[in-house]
């Protein structure tokens, strides 16, 4: 089966600019997650979708970050305006449902804010 697709693979922007990341989960996976991984740290959950509804966005900086999952399939994560501390890898993961063995991660988008 195809994996979780993410694009772009790399992005460099200046602070205060905006950026968007795209994720295409594994077909049929109802649950989708966005994680932020800062260099040297473990991934941190930003938002969790179940189909096209938000289950958990408690750690999403809502003043600058937004995410949507239209039609319960693809998802986009946006940052506007970006700050230097947003430099990180943004990982998307999906699972048939929350929990158990089914989490599959994409390779991520590496964002550098200069």
């Amino acid at each position: 089966e195809a994996g979780v697709a993410q694009s772009p693979r790399y992005k460099i922007i200046e602070k205060r600019q905006s950026v968007a990341f795209w994720c295409n989960p594994i077909s049929g996976h109802a649950t989708l997650y966005w994680y932020q991984q800062i260099l040297g740290q473990g991934p941190k959950l930003l938002i969790q979708f179940q189909n096209n509804g938000v289950v958990d966005d408690s750690q999403l900086p809502k003043d600058r970050f937004s995410a949507e999952r239209l039609k319960g399939v693809d998802s986009t994560l946006k940052i506007q305006p970006a700050k230097l501390e947003d430099s990180a890898v943004y990982l998307c993961a999906s699972s048939p449902r929350a929990g158990t063995y089914g989490y599959t991660f994409g390779s991520g988008t590496r964002l550098t804010v200069v």
Binding site: V4, G42, K44, L45, D56, G99, T100, Y103, F105
Partner: protein, 112 residues
């Protein structure tokens, strides 16, 4: 979700068995223990999951004592390609809508 504690790093040589221990003193009755592996420039990859005693698959073994307050990931005869970060996670995965909470993981370096 129960907090986990792992060694920050470990070193090994090719062909050796590597055991990475994770402490989770506050594990709840319904919690499962899951290990993920992450290579540079890739997302984490599921390795193994267990609830108690021993679980083995083609990649690793997971040992969980009776009190479940710790667990040990065992990698038999490691190779250079096993150099990665290994994360131990604990959570009630079977009831749905449970997020994965990652710690800083254990950096394993395998040398020739």
């Amino acid at each position: 979700l129960a907090k986990t504690t792992q060694p920050i790093s470990m070193d090994s040589y090719e062909g050796q068995e590597v055991n990475i221990t994770c402490s989770h003193n506050n594990i709840a009755t319904n919690d499962y223990i899951t290990w993920y592996q992450q290579f540079p420039s890739q997302g984490p990859r599921f390795i193994i999951q267990g609830y108690k005693t021993k679980v083995t698959n083609e990649v690793a073994s997971l040992f969980i004592p009776a009190d479940r307050k710790s667990s040990t990931l065992s990698l038999p005869r490691v190779s250079l390609s096993d150099t990665a970060v290994y994360y131990c996670l604990v959570g009630d995965f079977d009831t749905g809508f449970q997020k994965l909470v990652f710690g800083t993981g254990t950096r394993l370096l395998v040398s020739p």
